[in-house]
Amino acid sequence: MKESVIKLIHTDTIPESSICVQCGKCSSGCPVAFESEHSPRKVIRFLQWGCLKEASQSPFLWLCASCQACTVRCPRGVNISSIMLSLRRIAQQQGWVMPEENLSYYKTFINMIKKRGKISELRLGLATALHKIPSHPIEDIVLFFKLLKRGKLR
C-alpha cells in the first residue's frame, strides 16, 4: 500500500508538498476552510505523511474555490491550489470521493460537453440543483429569477 502511494505521489504533482513548513498561512487566509474540518495545511500534512487516501478523501477538496489565496501567501512557494486539483483527480480515479454526490456537478458538466459540445448554464444549474435535495430551495429560486432577468443564464 505504502509503496503504491509513494508512486502515486511522485507520478502526480505532489512532491512539492514535502517542502511545506506547516506555518499555517494557507489555512489562516483560506476563505472556505471554516466550512471544513480539514484545512489546506492538513491536507498537505497528510501528503507529507504519504497518506494519499486520507488527503484525497478530505471534503475540503470539494470546497476549495481555487482562489489562490493560499498559493500567494505560501512562504515556500507551494502551489497549494493546484495540489488540490490534482487530488480531486486522484480521488475520482481511485473512487475515493467522499461523499459520492460531490462529483455530480462535475459529471453533469462533462456529460453536457460530451453531448452538446458546449455548456448551457441554465441546464447545468438545473441539473445540479435537481440532483440532490437543495439546502436552501427558496433562496435558490429567488436567485434563479434574478440571474435569469439579468441574462446571466444562457
Binding site: 513548513v21 506547516q22 506555518c23 499555517g24 489555512s27 489562516s28 501567501r73 512562504p75
Partner: protein
C-alpha cells in the same frame, strides 16, 4: 647570466632500516651513482653524525643542492634546514622525497617492483631538484594603516582592536555619528544593559587615541592599488557645523525653527484610535534641522540637515556662542593610503511594506521590531499585542534565509514589555522558534510568563477591526484550531538584509557577494576573508548575526588584517611568473584568476599584483601557451618529473597512473591512506600541486605522450575549493582533453578528474584500484613505446 651546473647530493635517510626491508637500497644507490652530476649519494641511518660532513661538502662547493629521501619528523627537517642554512644553503634549494607516502613499503608488493618504483621516485625528485633556483622572499613596502568602512558595532570594535595594537585606523561612516543600528536598540539580553553603554566604552577608547581618524558623513569614493598599498579617496559631506569649534552646548537647537518631519505613515482616520495615536506619538521624533550627531553623539558635534532649513534662516548662526555654524560649508575630498580594508557595512532591516499582507505602513499600529525597540522606552497602555515571526524571512518571495536573531529579539521584547505592562496579553505567532545556545533560557523564561501565548502558525493577513483595532485570523497548527483575535498592536519580526552600503562597496571594489547580497567568503576556513586579498569583511555584512557574533567577527577581521599592516608585506617566492616571450595576451589568466590578481600592463600584457595573488597556480594551469610558472614549482619542473616516470617499470602491460593531487585535501587523503596501512597499489605515482586547478593540460598531454596509461587529477568537491573555483576550472579543462582523446580514438577515461576530501583515504585507494582495472581493460596507452 652565468649558469651553474646543478650538482646534487642525495641522502636517503633510513631510520631503523625500515626502507631496507622493502627495497634493495644498494641497487638504488648504484643506479643513482651512475647519474651525471649526482655528487654524493648515500644511505644514512642517523642524522647527527653525517650532517657535519654534508655541511662541509656543501661549503666546499661539491654540490649546490640537496634532496632528502625518507620520512622525517618536523623537528628533524628543521634541524637539517638550520644546519645547512648556517652553511649558506638557500632554503629553496632542498627537496624532500617521501618514498613511503608514495606507497613504498606497502606489504605484499614485490621488492623488485618497489625498488624500481623507488628509483623512479627519486629520479622524479632529482629532475625537479636540478631545476631549483635559489629564491628569496620578497619584501614589499606597505602602509601600516587600515581603512574601516562602517562605524557600527563591528566597525568600532575592529577599530579599537587595531588601535590597541598601535595600528593607524581610518574609520569612515556615512551617518553623522557612529554607533550604527545597535545604538538604536533598547536593551540587550541577558545583562539587560543599554547597548549604548557598550558602544560608549569603545568610543571612549577612540576619543583617547591619536591612532584613529573618524570621518563621519563620508563615503569611499574610490579605492585603487593593492594589498599593502591601497589609495583611498573619500568624500566628506558638509556638516555645516565645524567639528573643531562646536562644543555641543545645544544653544542652536533651542532656536532652530525647523522640525524634521517624520517618515510618512498612513494616518487614515478609520485606523486611528487612542492606542494607535499613542503609538504614533511615541515613534515620533522631535529632531530639529540642527541636532546632535546620530545615532551616537560621537563626534560630539552638531549637524545640520540643510534640506529642512527654512530659506534664509540664520538663527543657529546667531545663537552659537562658539561661532561653529558654517552654513557655507561644501563637501570635501580626502585621500590617504592604507594597507588593508575592513568592510563592516552591517545590515539594513528588510522593507516590511513589501510583506503587504501584514499591512505595515497602512495600519499605524503595525510596527517593526526595530520600532518596537523605541516604543519599549515608554510603551502606551496596550492590552493585546501580537508578534509575527519570520515577517519576510524564510520566505521564497522575500528573504530566503533565516535572519537568525528575530526570535530572540521578539522574546526579549515580550520580556521587557511584560515588565512594564504586566497585564498585557502577548501572542507570538511563529513557524519555528529558533533560540540557539543560551537563548533557550530566554525562551523558557518568556514561556513561563503569564498571558504569553505561543501560536504555531502564521496569520495570512491582517485586517482592520472595530475601533482601530487589528483583526487577525490564524490557525494554531498544533491543535488545528482556528483563532480570531483583535489586537491593539502588532509587531512584525522583520529580517536582516545586506545594507545599501554593502551593495555600494561591492560595486566599487568588485567584491563578490553571495546570492543574498552578503559578502562571499570561505565560511569554514577563512570567514573574514573576502575574495579580494587585503579586503576583509566583518560583522553582519557577511550574513545575519547577533551583536556578540558581530563583535567576534570584527575582532577576527582585525587579527586577519595584521599581516598586511606590517610596513612590509612578505611574499613567499611561490608566486607565478609570466614569460613574456611566450605570452600572447589572450588574457585567459586574467579571466580565470579567482582573485582578480592580474591587471593589464602598459603593453597590454597581464601583470601580476603579487600582494593580491594567493599563489594557487590556477593561472599556471590555465595558460594555453605554458607561459606561467609558480616560482618554486615551475611547469618545467613538473614536466621533468612527469618525464622521469618510466611507464613500463612493472611490465609493458601493467598500467601506470600519474595522479596530480591537490595539497589541500586529496594529497592528505593519499598520505593517510599509507599511514593507515591501506594497500596502495604500486602502479600509482602522485605529484602534489597547490590546487588541482594548477594542472595544465600540457602536463597531462606530456604524461600521455610518455606512455603513462592514466592521469588522475584529484581536487576538492564542488564548492569546497580553497581557491574558489580551481576544481571547476580543471574539470572543464580535463573534460576538453578527454573529448580530444575521443577524437584521437583513445579512451577518454585515460584522463579523469575526481573529487577527494581529506578523509577519503579509503576512497582514494578504491579509486586507484578500480582505475587500474579499467586501464587494464583498455590495454596499454597507445603512445607507450
Amino acid at each position: 647570466m652565468q649558469k651553474t651546473v646543478p650538482k646534487t647530493g642525495i641522502f636517503i635517510f633510513d631510520q631503523g632500516k625500515r626502507l631496507a626491508r622493502s627495497i634493495d637500497l644498494d641497487a638504488v644507490i648504484q643506479r643513482l651513482a651512475r647519474i651525471k652530476n649526482v655528487i654524493r649519494c648515500e644511505v644514512l641511518t642517523d642524522l647527527a653524525a653525517p650532517l657535519p660532513s654534508i655541511k662541509e661538502d656543501f661549503t666546499s662547493d661539491k654540490f649546490n643542492r640537496i634532496f632528502w629521501v625518507g620520512k622525517f619528523s618536523d623537528y628533524q627537517k628543521k634541524t637539517i634546514q638550520s644546519e645547512l642554512s648556517s652553511a649558506g644553503l638557500n632554503p629553496y634549494m632542498y627537496e624532500w622525497c617521501d618514498l613511503e607516502e608514495q606507497g613504498i613499503g606497502t606489504k605484499g608488493v614485490d621488492s623488485g617492483i618497489q625498488t624500481q618504483k623507488a628509483i623512479i621516485l627519486i629520479q622524479m625528485t632529482l629532475a625537479r631538484t636540478r631545476l631549483l633556483e635559489p629564491l628569496e622572499p620578497l619584501e614589499l613596502p606597505a602602509v601600516d594603516a587600515s581603512l574601516i568602512i562602517g562605524a557600527g558595532v563591528s566597525g568600532l570594535h575592529t577599530a579599537t582592536s587595531l588601535i590597541g595594537l598601535c595600528k593607524k585606523v581610518y574609520l569612515v561612516e556615512k551617518e553623522s555619528g557612529v554607533g550604527g543600528k545597535v545604538a538604536s536598540l533598547h536593551r540587550l539580553y541577558p545583562r539587560i544593559c543599554d547597548p549604548r553603554c557598550g558602544l560608549e566604552f569603545e568610543i571612549q577608547k577612540i576619543r583617547e587615541s591619536d591612532m584613529i581618524e573618524v570621518h563621519t558623513l563620508s563615503r569611499v569614493k574610490s579605492l585603487f592599488g593593492s594589498p599593502g598599498n591601497f589609495d583611498v579617496r573619500i568624500e566628506k559631506q558638509s556638516r555645516y557645523v565645524s567639528e573643531e569649534k562646536c562644543n555641543a552646548c545645544g544653544e542652536c537647537m533651542k532656536v532652530c525653527p525647523a522640525v524634521i518631519p517624520e517618515e510618512q505613515r498612513s494616518r487614515e482616520s478609520a485606523f486611528i484610535n487612542e492606542t494607535s495615536q499613542q503609538v504614533l506619538n511615541s515613534l515620533k521624533s522631535d529632531k530639529k534641522a540642527i541636532h546632535p550627531a546620530v545615532p551616537m553623539t560621537y563626534p560630539s558635534t552638531f549637524v545640520i540637515e540643510r534640506q529642512y532649513c527654512p530659506p534664509d534662516c540664520r538663527e543657529c548662526v546667531k545663537a552659537c556662542p562658539a561661532l561653529a555654524v558654517e552654513l557655507e560649508q561644501t563637501s570635501s575630498e580626502l585621500a590617504f593610503k592604507v594597507g588593508a580594508v575592513i568592510i563592516t557595512t552591517g545590515w539594513d532591516p528588510y522593507q516590511l511594506s513589501k510583506v503587504d499582507e501584514y499591512g505595515y505602513g497602512i495600519y499605524p499600529n503595525v510596527i517593526s521590531n526595530l520600532e518596537m525597540e523605541r516604543l519599549l522606552e515608554d510603551p502606551p497602555v496596550l492590552k493585546e499585542i501580537g508578534f509575527i515571526q519570520c515577517a519576510g524571512s524564510r520566505d521564497e518571495r522575500h528573504l530566503h534565509y533565516c535572519s537568525s536573531v528575530c526570535c530572540s529579539v521578539s522574546l526579549k521584547q515580550v520580556l521587557f514589555l511584560k515588565e512594564k505592562l504586566p497585564d498585557a496579553l502577548c501572542y507570538i505567532f511563529y513557524q519555528d522558534m529558533r533560540t540557539p545556545g543560551f537563548d533557550e533560557e530566554l525562551y523558557q523564561k518568556v514561556k513561563s510568563l503569564n498571558n504569553v501565548i505561543f501560536i504555531r502558525g502564521n496569520p495570512s493577513t491582517v485586517k482592520p477591526g472595530d475601533n482601530g483595532k487589528l483583526r487577525i485570523h490564524a490557525e494554531d497548527t498544533l491543535s488545528g484550531k482556528e483563532i480570531d483575535l483583535s489586537l491593539d498592536l502588532l509587531v512584525l519580526a522583520g529580517g536582516m538584509m545586506p545594507s545599501q552600503g554593502s551593495f555600494e562597496i561591492a560595486q566599487l571594489l568588485n567584491l563578490p557577494q553571495n546570492n543574498f547580497g552578503f559578502f562571499e567568503s570561505h565560511l569554514q576556513c577563512h570567514p573574514e576573508e573576502s575574495q579580494r586579498t587585503g579586503i576583509l569583511v566583518g560583522g553582519a555584512c557577511r550574513g545575519p548575526m547577533n551583536i556578540s557574533q558581530s563583535i567576534e567577527s570584527s575582532h577576527r577581521a582585525a587579527m586577519e588584517v595584521l599581516p598586511f599592516l606590517n610596513r612590509t608585506i612578505l611574499i613567499e617566492p611561490k608566486y607565478p611568473v609570466l614569460d613574456l616571450t611566450k605570452c600572447d595576451k589572450c588574457k585567459r589568466c586574467m579571466e580565470e584568476c579567482p582573485f582578480l590578481s592580474y591587471v593589464f600592463d602598459e603593453n597590454g600584457f597581464p601583470s601580476l599584483d603579487l600582494t593580491k595573488c594567493r599563489q594557487c597556480g590556477n593561472c599556471m594551469g590555465i595558460c594555453p601557451l605554458i607561459a606561467i610558472s609558480l616560482r618554486n614549482n615551475t611547469i618545467k619542473q613538473i614536466a621533468a618529473q612527469v618525464q622521469a616516470i618510466k611507464p613500463s617499470f612493472i611490465s609493458k602491460e601493467e598500467p601506470v597512473i600519474l595522479a596530480f593531487l591537490c595539497e589541500n585535501d586529496a594529497y592528505h587523503a593519499a598520505q593517510s591512506a599509507v599511514e593507515y596501512g591501506l594497500p596502495v597499489p604500486p602502479n600509482v605515482f602522485f605529484i602534489k600541486v597547490p590546487c588541482a586547478g594548477s594542472v595544465n593540460n600540457a602536463l597531462v598531454a606530456d604524461a600521455l605522450a610518455f606512455g603513462i596509461d592514466g592521469v588522475l587529477i584529484a581536487g576538492c568537491k564542488d564548492g569546497q575549493c580553497h581557491y574558489v573555483k580551481g576544481n571547476q576550472l580543471v574539470k572543464t579543462r580535463s573534460g576538453d582533453l578527454s573529448d580530444k582523446l575521443q577524437k584521437m580514438m583513445i579512451d577518454p577515461q585515460r584522463v579523469r578528474f575526481e573529487s577527494l576530501e581529506i578523509r577519503d583515504s579509503k576512497k582514494y585507494v578504491e579509486l586507484v584500484k578500480s582505475y587500474i582495472e579499467e586501464l587494464r581493460a583498455m590495454g596499454p596507452n597507445p603512445f607507450k613505446s
